[in-house]
Symmetry: C2
Subunit: 308 residues, 2 copies
DNA sequence: TCCGGCTCTGCACATATGAGCACACCGCTT
DNA sequence: AAGCGGTGTGCTCATATGTGCAGAGCCGGA
């Protein structure tokens, strides 16, 4: 292509894409037909003279996110860019806290699970509309990362009412569980579950290290569940590889039921790091959550169907 | 703006600008109105999420070129990017040769003036449609840069017929000029002038160094012309600052007349370097040329109305 | 010289798009 | 309770735009 042709393409492209002049008007300006202008602009596009770039804000890989969203039919998916594959909690927490700030409104009721990533999210929460905060599960895990701690931190940020559950995640026998569920404060929280409109939950893989729940069982029970196909849990609700519920110790749990969880309009899972690919895949297929915040590495593995 | 909103903007922008999906279809995909899609895309544009860049090919500044073209109402203008303001001939010659290759067709008749820049153009001419080449002016200047040399070099490239003028640019008296014009070979060339469809000419400023013509006059004549307002010449046709013809030694010239030059459909001037701003401005205003190939420095000065 | 393929052009017609407008909703004040 | 700006939404209607198609010119080969 010669310089005259090139100059005309550049000039017309400028006029259209930068000055916003319509093709019809450009055609009038230059005394050519609008079809010709359209075709010249198409040429400019094909030749790479006009480049359209989507400049995503840093911190999130929107291409991976969108692919993930489509693959699992989610309401939203966000893949946080993290420095490496190990220290992903901070990044996921940051994105999740921004997400919460964005979507939580005054009359939401927010349900909260436990976990390291959720704790990071809560710590990074700068502002949040005042709303009720309900603890979705009993207490488990390291101090400062239990659902009770997270619930408290969030309520401190937004000044909302709190519905904590001062009770363990899993208790040794059914009777104790029933007793606890009848405790007025706990009952008050659990009665509020149907009102929850948004929830943040963690996803655990079925290993002692990658689940808050696994270590609470005796190892025989845990292994028996593994043999029955459990690969993941969220809110201590165990699921198999295809996302099907595998009823485990439900009657000994203190927390939201799977049916109640599914009725929450907006359930956001937070999960990242090595070893969780199959678990996240399973929970996303379970229908118990409709949004995911993860890291780019895990997102890529989910899309590539490669477990870790 | 929160990550969800941002992700949606990015996702929609991708779909529209990269995948080419219409706003209506995107609206259907996402179950929202087309107005909303339009407004989201506008937001994405305003927020800088979508960036449209016009990637010009190197070697030419198309922005300056276009501004120049509009300012002088030219058919085309090209500002060559050159390493510095002194060695501009190579760059201008390169662009001009590419331009010639592009626009010259088999049944064009090409008229050629003399000068350093035109010589550079001719040397860099790789391929050119076969066409007749006519010398527009007598010989002047350094050997190898006369119109005769340039005409020959061009014809060697394209194998076309040549109409040279073996005669000086300017002769001492009217009689000699008339005699030469009646010489069969010269007459044959000059009779061909009305058939010329495209021409390349140089622009000289009215100083001994910056014009092929000035040194051919005795200094008294030259200075007298300067007093009459001559600031530039092309093809030894002198013009004043507003582009008006100032009849100088026309009867002693051997070359195309101003009326004949104006009748050529496409006259391309080549000029660049320091000290030529007023001269180029004048010639562009004269209506004798309708295209310019110059360097970016001179182009910028022409646009800034700053003489050098 | 004729012919087939090729490119370029502009048309008709269906869609897509832009712009102003009215209306509903919301939080806030009087 | 009523008033009231601000915001977001979808409407109508005039334009702008995309697409398939047919004709014109052009070129190379039979």
């Amino acid at each position: 292509m010669g310089p005259e042709q090139h100059a005309m393409l550049v000039s017309i492209a400028r006029r259209h894409y930068l000055d916003g002049v319509s093709k019809v008007d450009i055609a009038k300006e230059r005394g050519i037909s609008r079809y010709k202008v359209g075709r010249l602009l198409q040429t400019a596009l094909d030749e790479g003279i006009v480049r359209i770039e989507i400049q995503a804000r840093g911190g999130i890989d929107y291409e991976l996110s969108e692919a993930l969203r489509v693959k699992y039919g989610l309401r939203r998916a966000l893949a946080a860019e993290t420095p490496d594959e190990v220290h992903v909690h901070h990044g996921i927490g940051q994105v999740a806290s921004a997400l919460l700030s964005e979507i939580v409104t005054r009359d939401d009721v927010l349900g909260v699970d436990c976990g390291r990533t959720l704790a990071s999210m809560a710590r990074q929460l700068h502002s949040l509309e005042r709303c009720d905060v309900v603890q979705l599960t009993g207490m488990a895990g390291v101090i400062g990362q239990t659902a009770t701690d997270i619930t408290r931190v969030i309520s401190e940020v937004n000044g909302g009412r709190v519905f904590p559950i001062y009770a363990p995640y899993i208790v040794p026998d059914v009777h104790t569980a029933q007793t606890l569920r009848n405790h007025p404060a706990i009952r008050s929280a659990m009665n509020y579950y149907p009102k929850i409109t948004k929830a943040c939950v963690a996803i655990g893989a079925w290993t002692p290290e990658l689940s808050q729940m696994y270590p609470l069982l005796n190892s025989a029970d845990a292994q028996r569940l593994a043999q029955r196909g459990v690969v993941a849990e969220t809110c201590a609700l165990t699921v198999g590889a295809d996302g099907q519920r595998i009823d485990a110790v439900d009657e000994r749990r203190i927390g939201v039921s799977d049916t109640a969880l599914k009725k929450i309009p907006d359930v956001i899972a937070l999960a990242g790091g090595r070893g969780k690919t199959r678990a996240v895949d399973a929970v996303l297929k379970s229908g118990m959550v409709n949004s995911i915040v993860t890291d780019t590495f895990l997102a890529a593995r989910l899309l590539g169907d490669r477990p870790d």
